[in-house]
């Protein structure tokens, strides 16, 4: 069960990263792009299992 939750959490973090990258590249607002970048860091770390 614990392993399942961990894998699911990793997958969700990966999805967040993909979503933020997508948003970053489709946005017309530099400030929004920066927000995407900063908020992506913790999700990217978790998706890479760095914790």
């Amino acid at each position: 069960m614990t392993a399942f939750v961990s894998i699911a959490y990793t997958a969700l973090c990966g999805l967040m990263v993909i979503g933020l990258v997508y948003r970053m590249f489709t946005s017309r607002d530099v400030y929004e792009q920066i927000t995407c970048g900063v908020s992506m860091v913790p999700f990217l770390l978790r998706a890479l299992h760095i914790r």
């Binding site: 614990t2 392993a3 961990s6 894998i7 990793t10 990966g14 990263v17 993909i18 990258v21 997508y22 970053m24 590249f25 489709t26 946005s27 017309r28 530099v30 792009q33 920066i34 995407c36 970048g37 900063v38 992506m40 860091v41 990217l44 770390l45 998706a47 890479l48 299992h49 760095i50 914790r51």
Partner: protein, 411 residues
């Protein structure tokens, strides 16, 4: 749970990122947004750089500092040897055996039960690298809560690593969290009910190893670590357990030995001898019967071992402190603590000299050796004779680094 760590996710996510970037580029150029694509690339590069920097910092906490086995180290085993339930987890840690080969007692020294309180861990290292055990056995666990060494307390701005200067260079050590790393045990409950007493504590205390003794095999992660230590004490028939801690200088229980009922005689005599022989003041307190989960209560109640816990003063743990730097950790000098001291709020002698690491490790080292000598006198069948370990005055005079070995010369 631990098997999910691995590089597979890195490759797959890197591939996905590449795909998304190419799709996003195409879309952006189709929409005539190249200016924003350029800024997005720059932001992405900065993001990846920030992630790499943070990741490197986080992963450095998992790198265990080298310890050089000294002349009496006869064996090194993993704690999971006594309870396989923690094998392969970040709670597993090295247990050092210093066996004289001569009949006598067995004493377990716990350092790093709280990974913030580094004097305990450093005293353990000092013992492992210097002790010559002539009678009985010494067992040392320098990183009792190994998971705690992989994290820093939230909002405290601790440095993850600190350095001690020696004649041949510098040694590095990790500074951890008082609690088990929350990524290894999550989530915290609203309230923590200690097993087996049922005492209710704050939820985060469920990750405090020194509130989880005696532990249980089917409990939460920290309870399992406590259970492994209790199993070790039983399996090795330890006569005495010495648990080394630090506390904030404004906390009432500081520069003190806290003894279970079964060891109050040893603690009292050792404290008096320490004051008479070395001029180092240290108090003695009886372990409160109603405060459950602590080593000095539960190990004494649930095993045949006598238990003494020692506390020194670490100003870095005080809330009124200023900047939390490596210097503060090592010297204990802080202008705000000085102000607090002048107002009579600090429980230990405190002036411009602070409370350096030499003072704190020296106290632990002397106290520990006085306890061993006293036990050997009072209980000759459980005698443990140790020499070669510097005492308070020597550590203050030469510095702690003088007694730390060079890992490069470890063959």
């Amino acid at each position: 749970m631990w098997s999910v760590y691995g590089p597979l996710s890195f490759k797959s996510i890197a591939y996905t990122l590449r795909q998304v970037i190419s799709v996003a580029f195409d879309k952006a150029s189709n929409c005539g947004k190249s200016k924003y694509s350029r800024s997005a690339v720059i932001v992405l590069i900065v993001t990846v750089a920030m992630t790499a920097w943070s990741g490197r910092l986080i992963m450095s906490s998992y790198k265990v500092e080298p310890i050089v086995p000294g002349p009496s180290v006869s064996d090194i085993v993993r704690l999971s040897h006594y309870f396989p339930g923690i094998e392969g987890t970040p709670g597993d840690t090295d247990v050092y055996f210093l066996d004289s080969g001569n009949p006598g007692g067995t004493v377990l020294v716990l350092g790093g039960v709280h990974a913030t309180e580094v004097a305990g861990m450093l005293t353990g290292v000092l013992l492992i690298e210097n002790a010559q055990v002539n009678q009985g056995r010494l067992i040392v666990i320098p990183h009792s809560n190994n998971s705690g060494f992989t994290a820093q307390p939230a909002e405290d701005a601790f440095v993850p690593v600190f350095h001690i200067q020696t004649e041949w260079g510098e040694r590095w050590f990790r500074l951890g969290d008082r609690l088990t790393n929350s990524v290894h045990q999550w989530p915290d409950p609203e309230a923590y009910a200690h097993y087996p007493s049922g005492q209710i504590l704050s939820g985060s205390e469920v990750r405090n190893l020194n509130r989880c003794f005696p532990g249980r095999p089917d409990g939460l992660f920290t309870e399992k670590i406590a259970y492994a230590i209790t199993q070790l004490i039983e399996a090795e028939a330890c006569d005495l357990v010495i648990d080394l801690h630090e506390a904030s200088a404004m906390y009432p229980v500081v520069n003190v030995m806290v003894a279970h009922d079964n060891a109050i005689d040893i603690a009292g005599m050792a404290a008096m001898t320490m004051e008479f022989e070395e001029g180092v003041n240290i108090g003695v307190e009886a372990s409160p019967v109603g405060l459950r989960g602590l080593s000095h209560r539960e190990i004494g109640d649930h095993t045949r071992a006598k238990v003494i816990l020692m506390e020194t003063a670490n100003p870095m743990m005080d809330w009124v402190r200023g900047r939390t730097t490596e210097d503060l950790l090592l010297t204990g000098q802080d202008e705000f603590m000085l102000k607090a001291s002048k107002k009579g709020l600090v429980r230990v002698p405190y002036d411009e000299q602070g409370v350096p690491i030499e003072e704190r490790v020296g106290r632990h080292s002397s106290g520990l050796q006085q306890i061993l000598s006293t036990m050997s006198l009072m209980y000759p069948d459980s005698a443990v004779q140790v020499e070669g370990v510097p005492k308070y005055a020597e550590i203050r005079e030469h510095g702690l680094g003088h007694f730390l070995k060079n890992p490069a010369e470890d063959i």
